[in-house]
């Protein structure tokens, strides 16, 4: 459970990145934080694991204020996968890379071995166990970064821009993986401006502009509302745009999913024929 209460945050440079933000994330929820560049998305999620502390207001993780607890203690509960894997990979082997977090949290050597193997298998990296992370491709490095966080089994997983630089197939694997994590009861927070990706995942969506939350609700409601989307400089998914254009035919406009769209269209066409 993460509770953000009337949080303001100003960077030392004087940039006011968050203005009176309140948000509550329940356990096991799947949340996408969206908005244009500089809207404050990353600043907001950095509050969740205490990397940034609010200038005013407070952030509670399981009832404890992030001010009263160290980043390392919070990180045990709230895993954060950074956008660029090159900002964290440094070990000689993939195996060592994944063990790094576990060592920091003081896992016993036997548990550590088991968990590393588990994380390697989870992300299909078993064959690279002894390979240097620097020899891997971009997508593989991203997976190593993810594995190195999931290894200690945090309750909450935050993914900053997980889809950037990934091809369609990798995105699909990632989507299935995230959905599966969430189904296992993990709280998942993704920060992204990939509308199509969010439409396919269909999580709760929080829209931000200029340091404030402008909309909060399920993906279907937010992404199909062109007024709200426009305010946050977000273009509705392509499939929604088609249905918004076809509104005068009496078709529903709240469609974000391709298979649902297909079903609706088929029903409409069949009804037309009779």
């Amino acid at each position: 459970m993460i509770e953000v209460k009337d949080v303001y945050f100003t960077y030392p440079t004087g940039v006011e990145a968050l203005k009176d933000v309140s948000l509550s994330i329940r356990n096991g929820e799947f949340l996408a934080i969206m908005g244009q560049n500089g809207a404050g998305k990353t600043t907001l999620v950095k509050q969740f694991n205490g990397l940034l502390k609010p200038t005013k207001g407070e952030v509670l993780v399981d009832g404890v204020s992030t001010r009263d607890i160290s980043v390392a203690q919070l990180a045990r509960k709230v895993g954060f996968v950074f956008q660029n894997p090159d900002h964290q990979l440094f070990s000689e082997t993939v195996e060592e890379e994944i063990a790094f977090g576990l060592r920091n949290f003081g896992f016993k050597e036997s548990t550590l071995k088991r968990r590393v193997t588990w994380a390697l298998n989870l992300l299909g990296l078993a064959e690279y166990r002894k390979t240097s992370p620097f020899m891997l491709s971009g997508g593989e490095r991203k997976r190593v970064a993810l594995a190195s966080v999931l290894a200690w089994n945090p309750k909450v997983v935050i993914l900053d821009e997980p889809t950037i630089g990934q091809d369609h197939r990798q995105k699909e694997i990632l989507r299935q993986f995230i959905v599966q994590l969430n189904a296992q009861g993990k709280t998942v927070v993704i920060v992204t401006h990939d509308v199509e990706f969010v439409a396919e995942c269909s999580p709760r969506v929080v829209l931000m502009t200029q340091g404030q939350i402008v909309a909060d609700g399920d993906a279907k409601r937010i992404l199909t509302n062109s007024d709200i989307a426009l305010r946050a400089s977000i273009v509705p998914p392509q499939i929604t745009q088609i249905f918004l254009d076809l509104a005068d035919l009496g078709l529903p406009t709240d469609i974000i999913d391709v298979s649902e769209a297909k079903k609706t269209l088929l029903e409409y066409l069949e009804g037309d024929n009779t």
Binding site: R76, D86, H87, F100, N104
Partner: protein, 263 residues
Amino acid sequence: MSVFEGFKFRQVSSPIHRLDPRVKFLYVLVMFIAAVMFNELPVLLVLFFLQIPFVLVASIQRQWLRSLRGAMFLATFLFVFNVFFGYISLGTVPGGVSPLEYAFAMSLRFLVLVESFSVFFLTTSPDHLSLALEQSHVPYEFTFAFTTAVRFVPVLAEESQTIMDAQKARGLELEKGNFMKRVRNYIPVLIPLIVSAIRRSLELAEAMESRGWGASKKRTNLYVLEMKEGDWTLVIISILLLVTVIYVRYFVHVPSFTMLFAQ
């Protein structure tokens, strides 16, 4: 590090900012020579206050003060050491000067050096600086390397912050453990930083080549530095200053405050 604040250029326009960087450098060099030639407090005080008109004309008081404040730590350090060694072995201190005054002079000499370089860097844009180097016939490769290095300092600083955040999010505690452990804590930060710096420099080299780096042997510049009236004035001031300090050094006996007050 607040002392570095005093060396960061900000784009403003003042008569000092518009001066030819070569001339400003000559002035700084003269100040440097003057400060190193003297260990007498009265002269160093004069040199110290000589900078203030420059600071005021360039309206960089705030940044200048900040750089002095940053340098204060090292200056205090110098002061304490000089007092200490001045009293235990009086041999280092010239006759007729109290160790206290001598220590004060040494710290002040350091501050004079810091403040004159700080005025130079605060009022000279990196572009101007590279132009000056180029027109002083420094090979363009070196000039470019120099300006690129200056240009990438803030980028690297920001990147190291991100890397530290990423590793802290994996449970790294930088401040934990004894001295050796703390040094080792920085390995997970340094390796990604170095790797990305190398990667970036390779990318930069490719980008430069694709934009025709080194295609023509003789480069021309949009802006050409020209000596104007103000520049000549500063050249004359600098030469006069140099002549004066040499004269004072060899032909005038500078009294110390210790002697003045003893009379």
